[in-house]
């Protein structure tokens, strides 16, 4: 397939402090003991999309990510790593690497997407409709924040549900309206023009934009060049394209699209013919064709473009790691209900690694994962948690609903609930943590108790 893939891997996202750090940028955050980026790359490989550009924010992070990819996917994928400055937005990132893009169509995937939706299906759908953009939409995760109510402190947990308001045509093929961000909280305003063209539009608030888009390269580059105010693909570029579809678009006029719109020859004909055509055209194959007819013989050809949607089936898993809550949910889901993601990936998918040592009367419940080389003392309990590699865990330790990364030392009698413990953290004896995040390398002194706090070393 003549598709180039751009993976927007991000860098040190502020949403995820203290989990991310200079040593562990966002793409390398572990999900079930693998960097989150692995899941995207693996899905792309499965779909035979092997020509990749991974865009990382920040040079240092790019080096780390590059190192990991070349170590893991050597010979399997053709990957270029591109470093871009921070805070230029996803549209800015594409602008920055624009000169690398050569294929007809570009698939842009967010690096924090953990999903079993095949990217190939999105790409194929895009090709089939000859769309300008195809966005992958998935059901709003029900397993999301609302379920793990115990960790209710986070901002996003309060209002589950609506991420986007999406308008679809009756065949659920075309994307006719999309509202993101702050717009969702306002009254929805729909363009009557588009509505007139389709006749019937379904408004869904139970779908979300999964940040996987297929773009027509020429259009994407043109739009990005012309509109330098567009910052984000999700919030600016996609809504812009959706909004401007089905109408004459001076902006897009220059793009050579003659081969795509063979049915636009009518433009030279006069009004009368046009009108009679419209009236006679009782069963137009697609409303796009109808609207692409010129309204005025002298006017330039009215270009139109199609924005399509690929709706993932409701049984598929799709989540983005863009908050601490999401991090925990995804870790839980991947070891739990969405473990097919793991089993298809992993060549050694033992949930308890082969070289782990468990003390007597230590129980590891279902939906747990213990990394290689970790050791646990006696009478420990692990429930619905992920524990990384080479951790040393003392006796009488309880770990529930938590993520423990690599090389963590946990003293005797600690109780950890709903928390994230980053690498190289040391928890001394009898520490009690509930709904906390502990940044890398932090030392929690013996006997301390924390609830709902974020603990991290001061930046040096």
């Amino acid at each position: 397939m003549d598709f180039q893939v751009v993976v927007l891997a991000g860098g040190t996202s502020k949403n995820l402090t203290p989990l991310v750090s200079k040593e562990v940028p966002k793409p390398l955050l572990p999900v079930a003991n693998r960097p989150v980026l692995y899941y995207v790359l693996h899905q792309l490989e499965q779909s035979n999309l092997k020509d990749l550009i991974v865009v990382v924010e920040g040079k240092d992070a790019a080096l780390l990510v590059g190192g990991w990819i070349s170590g893991t996917f050597v010979d399997r994928l053709h990957v270029e790593i591109a470093a871009v400055p921070e805070d230029i937005g996803s549209a800015g990132a594409i602008r920055a690497i624009s000169h690398h893009l050569t294929a007809n169509d570009i698939l842009v995937v967010s690096g924090d997407l953990v999903s079993d939706v095949p990217p190939g299906a999105v790409a194929a759908n895009h090709r089939r409709h000859d769309a300008v953009v195809t966005a992958m939409l998935c059901s709003v995760p029900i397993s999301g924040p609302s379920e793990s109510g115990s960790s209710g402190g986070k901002d996003k947990t309060k209002k589950p549900g609506r991420y986007n308001i999406i308008g679809l045509d009756p065949g659920k093929q075309f994307l006719l309206h999309i509202a993101t961000g702050a717009e969702i909280e306002k009254d929805t305003r729909l363009q009557k023009r588009i509505l007139r063209a389709v006749g019937e539009m379904e408004i869904r608030s139970d779908l979300m934009d999964a940040h996987m888009y297929a773009f027509k390269r020429s259009v994407l580059q043109e739009v990005l060049d012309r509109k330098d105010t567009l910052q984000s693909l999700k919030q600016d570029v996609l809504p812009y394209l959706v909004r401007s579809q089905l109408k004459s678009e001076a902006l897009l006029n220059r793009i050579p699209r003659a081969e795509e719109n063979g049915n636009e020859k009518v433009s030279s004909q006069n009004n009368q013919v046009m009108v009679s055509q419209i009236l006679a055209n009782a069963s137009t194959p697609s409303f796009h064709d109808l609207c692409s007819v010129s309204h005025d013989g002298s006017a330039p050809i009215r270009k139109t473009h199609k924005c399509c949607a690929y709706i993932a089936s409701s049984s598929s898993y799709c989540a983005r790691l863009n908050s601490i809550q999401a991090f925990m949910d995804i870790n839980r889901d991947v070891t739990g209900e969405a473990d097919h993601l793991l089993s298809s990936i992993s060549d050694h998918n033992n949930i308890v690694g082969p070289s782990t040592k468990l003390g007597t009367k230590t129980t590891v419940g279902p939906h747990c994962m213990l990394g290689e080389g970790s050791e646990m003392g006696d009478k420990c309990q692990v429930k619905r948690s992920v524990i990384g590699r080479h951790c040393r865990i003392g006796s009488h330790v309880k770990v529930v609903n938590s993520v423990v990364m690599n090389h963590v030392t946990i003293g005797d009698g600690c109780i950890i609930q709903g928390s994230v413990i980053c690498s190289n953290v040391q928890l001394q004896e009898r520490v009690v943590l509930k709904d906390c995040q502990v940044g890398a390398g932090f030392v929690v002194t013996a006997g301390s108790e924390y609830k709902g706090e974020s603990l991290a070393r001061k930046e040096k």
Partner: protein
């Protein structure tokens, strides 16, 4: 009978099964409470107008009977006597299982009044069908009733089921078929609950707005632009009491349906029932009259077609959709068809061509006449050589030889068109003079030939008319050529659009193209540079941003913004509903008091609303925009002037205009000087004010003086004029 009914309701409450056996009732409104069929409706009620030679109400009643309705209450208001007389003389009064009762009113001016009156009579028990007497349908009610009842059992708040039908979504189709405005409906695809109903959405041009709570409550909503409202409703008793409780409800859709949807009264819900293969449409205007007549002739409404409705052998159907009654005298050389109806006793002369038309009873049509797409009622005389295209000709009209009717002409009763006279397109001709517009502002919405005006025609018919007639007869020429009798009505202000939208004539192609272009350009204006500018909110966000610097001012500024919004809404309402200027002034003054504003602010806000109206009216070039602005200013100059008591207020208007040019509507900035001149010409602004404004700006920044410089020429001229005076 009342006692018996009470017994029935008592039993209903005991046994839900009994509900099904309750006699199905219907309310038929034999008055449309509109003026769209004037001038014809000044003399005859709309429901008695012939549709393929059969009065409209017969179609409605026949359908109700076939749909299993057992008792119909016919509500008559305008020309109630004629309706009652007709029903009494017809078969409807003597049907065994179909009871037709009339309810007469003389002072109802809306459907709301009618339903309130019916509620007071206590005649409706249980679910009923609400329909107006101008609806043609052949749908089966069984399924819709069933659905309605089942919903009612589950949810007592489901009080109404509205029948809708698929139509093509294009604005052209809607316009060219029934001549109705486009309709947007939001429907929940699973429950079929109606969530939003927008038929006249001028207020948010180019956009349709869905309430956020609506979307929050319904994860999936389908917004339709491809549905047609059939105006057939299955209602529960509560509907009547709702009308009584909300005495301001007038219009069934605009007030009642929207009221329920928007205000969420007591959680009452409306549902829709979609029909697919059957027919249902309402005659709303001349265009739908034309369309539905054709549908009837083409038998879409079967079994409600002329030959079936008239009984056995009165009308013969021949090939190519020709319906012929008995005793027709037809010349051999006449070319008849396709799709025509000819009534009893009509004579048609040599070489006459008739196609796609309906000819009533007892007509005399001469030789070499061309009739195309026209509706000729009873006892019409058309002399030799006349041409009729897409016209409606009422009873007793005489067309002298060689007269021509251009498309869209309506000749009301007994009009005489003079020899060789050409009646211009879209003319409305009546023996009655056009009612003066005085009483039309508030009432026009609801009242029509009904209510207060009802005396006018009848009185005129008896007395004045004859004198009118004799007068015109004596005169050598009238408005209708030599020997013609009748008045050509002038068109209401703003009615130019309606003229071709609602007429029987096909829409000219240039208008069709214009509809499409207009609809597109509306949005292009609003969608600038990729940013969606809300038509109402754009200035606000801008000015908010500007004013955030002086924080202490913000409170009053916010007040002003909402005040301005209110004034704008008032003004728009005034424009769309023809509210009198005096009333607008009163309303704005009330707003001024409630917001604690000065009259300076009123002037600014009104001027702002006017300019906004001008910029939102469709225009493609700045000269058109200028014309729009001139129109608005001319129409509403009195309103504006009444708030310009002194020079400060006039200066405020100029400053406001500058602000508009800079912020909300930059399209105006090239027109600044021209419009300023216009305001001066209209005596809205005095030269003192303009010069003072220029002086005040003298010391301002260079950037502030852009518009002074624009208007420099005009200012120069003003100054010179002043000097000359000195």
């Amino acid at each position: 009978m009342v006692a018996q009914k009470k017994g029935a309701t008592a039993r209903v409450s005991e046994d839900p099964e009994e509900l099904a056996r309750h006699p199905l009732q219907a309310i038929l409104l034999a008055d449309s409470f509109t003026t769209k069929f004037r001038p014809i409706t000044l003399e005859r009620p709309k429901v008695l107008l012939p549709l393929a030679n059969i009065p409209m109400i017969d179609y409605t009643l026949a359908w109700l009977e076939s749909a299993g309705v057992e008792e119909v209450f016919v509500f008559c208001c305008a020309h109630s006597k004629q309706v009652i007389d007709y029903l009494e003389s017809s078969d409807w009064s003597s049907q065994p299982n179909f009871l037709v009762t009339t309810i007469e009113s003389h002072n109802s001016i809306s459907a709301g009044d009618a339903l309130r009156l019916i509620y007071e009579r206590h005649v409706i028990h249980g679910d009923f069908v609400l329909i107006s007497g101008d609806t043609v349908s052949n749908m089966s009610l069984t399924q819709a009733l069933q659905e309605h009842k089942e919903r009612r059992k589950k949810d007592a708040n489901a009080i109404m089921t509205m029948v809708v039908k698929q139509s093509k979504p294009s604005p052209i189709t809607q316009q060219s078929r029934l001549g109705t405005d486009e309709l947007f409906m939001a429907i929940n695809p699973d429950t079929k609950q109606l969530l939003c109903y927008e038929d006249k959405a001028e207020y948010s041009k180019g956009f349709i707005s869905l309430d956020k709570t609506l979307i929050a409550d319904n994860p999936s909503t389908v917004l339709h632009n491809d549905k047609q409202d059939c105006y057939i409703d299955i209602c529960s008793e509560e509907v009547l009491s709702l009308f009584t409780d909300n005495f301001d409800y007038q219009h069934l859709r605009r007030h009642f349906v929207k009221g329920l949807l928007v205000d969420d009264i007591m959680g009452y819900k409306i549902f829709t029932h979609e029909i697919h293969s059957s027919y249902a449409a309402r005659i709303d205007n001349f265009r739908s009259y034309d369309t539905i007549s054709k549908d009837i002739i083409q038998r879409w409404t079967y079994p409600f077609v002329p030959d079936v409705l008239c009984g056995n052998s009165a009308i013969r159907v021949e090939r190519r959709g020709t319906y012929r009654a008995s005793e027709i005298t037809l010349s051999r050389s006449a070319q008849i068809g396709p799709f025509i109806v000819i009534g009893q006793g009509t004579e048609i002369g040599n070489d006459t061509k008739i196609s796609h038309s309906v000819i009533g009873e007892g007509c005399t049509i001469g030789s070499n006449v061309t009739i195309e797409g026209s509706y000729i009622w009873n006892n019409v005389t058309i002399e030799d050589g006349c041409e009729l295209r897409h016209a409606i000709v009422c009873d007793g009209v005489t067309m002298k030889s060689g007269a021509v009717l251009e498309p869209g002409v309506v000749l009301s009763f007994k009009v005489v068109v003079g020899q060789q006279f050409v009646v211009p397109a879209y003319s409305m001709v009546s023996l009655l003079q056009q009612p003066t517009q005085q009483d039309s502002d508030e009432e026009l919405e609801y009242a029509d030939s009904s209510s207060g005006n009802v005396e006018l025609p009848s009185a005129k018919l008896n007395g004045d008319i004859t004198s009118d007639l004799s007068e015109t007869r004596h005169g050598p020429t009238s408005e209708l050529g030599t020997g013609g009798v009748g008045y050509i009505w002038s068109i209401f202000e703003g009615g130019h659009d309606e003229e071709w939208r609602h007429s029987v004539a096909p829409i000219p192609t240039d208008k069709l193209a214009k509809i499409m272009l207009d609809k597109d350009e509306d949005e292009e204006l609003l969608t600038q540079d990729g940013n969606v500018l809300s038509p109402s909110g754009e200035l606000k966000s801008d000015s908010d941003a500007n004013d955030s610097e002086d924080g202490d001012n913000e409170g009053s500024r916010d007040d002003y913004v909402s005040f301005e919004k209110e004034v704008e809404a008032t003004f728009l309402r005034a424009v769309h509903e023809n509210v009198k200027v005096d009333h607008v002034i009163l309303e704005v003054n009330a707003l001024r008091l409630s917001y604690n504003m000065a009259s300076v602010d009123c002037a600014g806000a009104i001027f702002y609303s006017m300019m906004k109206l001008a910029v939102e009216s469709p225009h493609s070039s700045s000269s058109e925009l200028h014309r729009n602005a001139a129109d608005v200013i001319t129409t509403w100059q009195n309103l504006l002037k009444s708030f310009l008591h002194d020079i400060d207020e006039e200066i405020e208007v100029i400053l406001k205009f500058e602000e508009i040019c800079l912020e909300s509507a930059k399209e105006f900035s090239p027109l600044f000087a021209q419009i300023l001149h216009l305001l001066y010409d209209k005596d809205i602004l005095e030269e003192d004010a303009i010069l003072r404004w220029a002086d005040e700006k003298e010391g301002a920044d260079e950037s502030d003086k852009v518009f002074v410089q624009r208007a420099e020429k005009f200012l120069q001229w003003l100054r010179e004029a002043e000097e000359e005076e000195d």
